[in-house]
């Protein structure tokens, strides 16, 4: 039994079957990649996992609890964090404040009104945020506005914001999309470092095969809204079904 269980999930948009009978089990602590050609249903699946979309049928359970019908913030409180395709950060706030917010969110869980306390008096939380910035090597930029960072740094910051919450599951939606090669390699190294130092389970949705094969421990290939194969990377490469899905029947 994995930490995340997707059972018989289907989702239709009008006449389009975006997901049909998806079954997926993610083992705790794994780095699991989901790949597939455009329109395979990867993003729909991710949106179902984080509560943005409600599937027509099926169930999604995280650590034994259903995630369906919950608001995104409730799903996050269960221990699921998400990294977006374009980094979603607080651009108008400083780098340090960006990391402080998830620290406060984690401390308070639900909503608390700390209207008359001072941020700088929260020594433990400040230390936690500073330590996280050191971990991702951004301590020098802590007083910069997050919106003025480079694409690679924004991604790094977004991951720091997710990790500081110590989530049990980290979902990454094309974390290297639109990045230069150097930034991509930096991101791969960062993910490897996270994997080595933290007990977090990661699900990564990715287009870039270079990223997938240098990171993933297990790979699920999706096509036309349904998982085609699930295996370790070495065996995925040679699988004829995968080649068919990516290159079409004529080449198979």
């Amino acid at each position: 039994m994995g930490i995340l269980e997707v059972k018989d999930v289907s989702k239709r948009f009008g006449g389009l079957r975006a997901l049909s009978d998806v079954n997926l089990s993610i083992a705790e602590g794994a780095l699991h990649a989901i790949i597939g050609p455009n329109g395979a249903g990867k993003s729909t699946l991710l949106n179902v996992l984080v509560g943005k979309l409600l599937p027509d049928t099926g169930s999604v359970t995280f650590a034994g609890q259903s995630v369906l019908g919950r608001q995104p913030h409730q799903i996050n409180q269960m221990g699921i964090a998400r990294v977006f395709q374009t980094p979603e950060i607080f651009g108008a706030l400083t780098v340090l404040e960006n990391v402080l917010i998830p620290c406060f969110a984690k401390r308070d869980g639900a909503y608390r009104l700390h209207a008359l306390e001072a941020v700088r008096d929260e020594t433990a939380i400040n230390a936690q945020a500073e330590a996280m910035l050191v971990d991702v090597n951004m301590q020098d930029k802590r007083h910069m506005l997050a919106g003025s960072l480079s694409r690679g740094d924004k991604r790094r910051l977004e991951m720091a914001m997710c990790l500081v919450q110590e989530p049990r599951l980290l979902l990454l939606d094309e974390p290297t999309a639109g990045m230069a090669r150097a930034d991509t390699n930096n991101t791969i190294d960062l993910l490897k470092q996270i994997k080595a130092t933290r007990p977090v389970t990661m699900v990564i949705i990715e287009h870039d095969m270079h990223v997938v094969f240098s990171l993933a421990e297990r790979i699920t290939v999706m096509a036309q809204g349904t998982p085609l194969v699930e295996d370790i990377p070495a065996r995925i490469k040679g699988n004829p079904k995968v080649q068919e899905a990516y290159l079409g029947t004529a080449h198979a």
């Binding site: 996050n76 108008a92 706030l93 917010i101 998830p102 909503y111 209207a115 941020v119 929260e122 919450q165």
Partner: protein, 400 residues
């Protein structure tokens, strides 16, 4: 000081000194001199300065921090005024219960209105708040006449019960007071060959404004304030960080509604009558102008903006064509008439034209408001001195 860091404490002291000495600072010109009309130190106007500053400080907590632009905050101002006058009619002429009651009632109303309006964001939120405010305005004129006294406005009368101090009323209408000190009392002091007036009402409002300003500084520096800025910056990331954005925005809305209620209550405390026109959309628009003109999201901006608008409203609207003719009397007649004709539309009743142009200039060239202007000026003048200080820095090292 008061759990503020040095910079914020400095700001608070600065504002406190300016407000407390305003009756002197705003009266630089001797009475009877040609410039005396530019004095702004009379009680009525100074009270308006601080009351609108409270209104704008509260509005800035909502608009400056969360980015939710409310076009209906005058409704809470009006509600505050009505509540205060009702307290004067029913309970006592003491201003304390009136002001407290106006803050509470405005808070309750803003909770209800905010709960509904905050289901939408952006322009839809603005339109919803505007609709609510216009609804309150119309209701005050029509259906709610028994409570608001319709077009005449709510006033004191000799037959009011005034449970606590009604028996002392004889003959004339009583005055609002703070434990016996009437709000329209003035203390006249003769010094430096001039008579300086210190109004009790002004100081009552000024102290409340300083408290309101202090609370706003604390909110800005608190985790809550940081969350509000995060709401403005990226709601999606807020939600995916496990934070529901709506309670934060609602809390900000209620706080700013209570500030507006306080301002409305103080207006009634200075002059115990309340009319529906206080709730009109132009009044809501005015506080938006004040906040943006001063600098939305900055601590000092709303105070600066409200002072600026209220001062110039007063000065420009006083200049009439007789005064203009006096000023330009040195010119040949034809030229004098021409110059006066050109300037005339911008002053007197036309001063809103001047305000509109100023507002356009600020929005185009100083999107951060007057505060940004001040910062740019400081940078301009500070460039050389800091450069010199930098050069001096290495030399001073060996001495340590």
């Amino acid at each position: 000081m008061f759990r503020l860091d040095r910079q914020d404490a400095g700001l608070l002291v600065f504002v406190a000194v300016i407000t407390l000495f305003a009756p002197i600072l705003l009266n630089p010109f001797a009475e009877g001199s040609a410039m005396a009309q530019f004095n702004a130190g009379y009680p009525d106007l100074m009270q308006r300065f601080v009351i609108f500053a409270i209104f704008a400080i509260g509005f800035n907590i909502l608009f400056g921090l969360t980015g939710y632009l409310s076009f209906g905050h005058a409704a809470f101002l009006g509600i505050g005024s009505y509540s205060a006058v009702w307290m004067f009619k029913l309970l006592s002429m003491n201003v304390i219960p009136a002001v407290l009651f106006s803050v509470i009632v405005a808070g309750v109303f803003s909770l209800v209105i905010g709960y509904v309006c905050l289901r939408r964001s952006g322009i839809y939120f603005s339109i919803l708040t505007l609709a609510f405010a216009q609804m309150s305005f119309s209701l005050a004129y029509s259906v709610l006449t028994p409570i608001t006294n319709g077009e005449t406005g709510l006033q004191l009368s000799l037959s009011d019960p005034r449970v606590l101090d009604g028996k002392t009323t004889t003959g004339a209408l009583p005055e609002t007071n703070l434990f016996g000190v009437a709000m329209n009392d003035t203390l006249s002091v003769e010094a430096l060959g001039r008579v300086w007036q210190f109004s009790a009402g002004y100081y009552f409002c000024a102290v409340l404004m300083l408290i309101a300003f202090y609370i706003s500084i604390r909110i800005f520096r608190s985790p809550f304030g940081m969350m509000l800025r995060a709401v403005k910056s990226n709601q999606q990331r807020m939600r995916f960080t496990g934070l529901n954005t709506r309670p934060y925005a609602l809390a900000a809305f209620v706080i700013s509604g209570m500030y507006a209620g306080l301002a409305g209550g103080l207006m009634a405390a200075m002059d115990p009558l309340a009319g529906a026109d206080r709730m009109q959309w132009t009044a809501s628009g005015e506080v938006v102008l004040m906040t943006i003109l001063g600098g939305a999201g900055t601590l000092l901006g709303p105070i600066l903006g409200s002072g600026f608008i209220k001062y110039f409203e007063n000065i420009f609207s006083k200049i009439n064509d007789t005064i203009l003719h006096q000023w330009f009397a040195f010119l040949p007649d034809g030229l004098e008439n021409f110059v006066v004709a050109v300037i005339y539309p911008f002053v007197g009743k036309g001063w809103l034209l001047t305000l509109g142009m100023l507002f356009m200039l600020v929005v185009i060239f100083l999107p951060g408001g007057l505060i940004e202007g001040a910062q740019r000026l400081r940078k301009l003048f500070a460039r050389t001195p800091t450069g010199a200080a930098d050069r001096r820095a290495p030399a001073s090292k060996p001495a340590e």
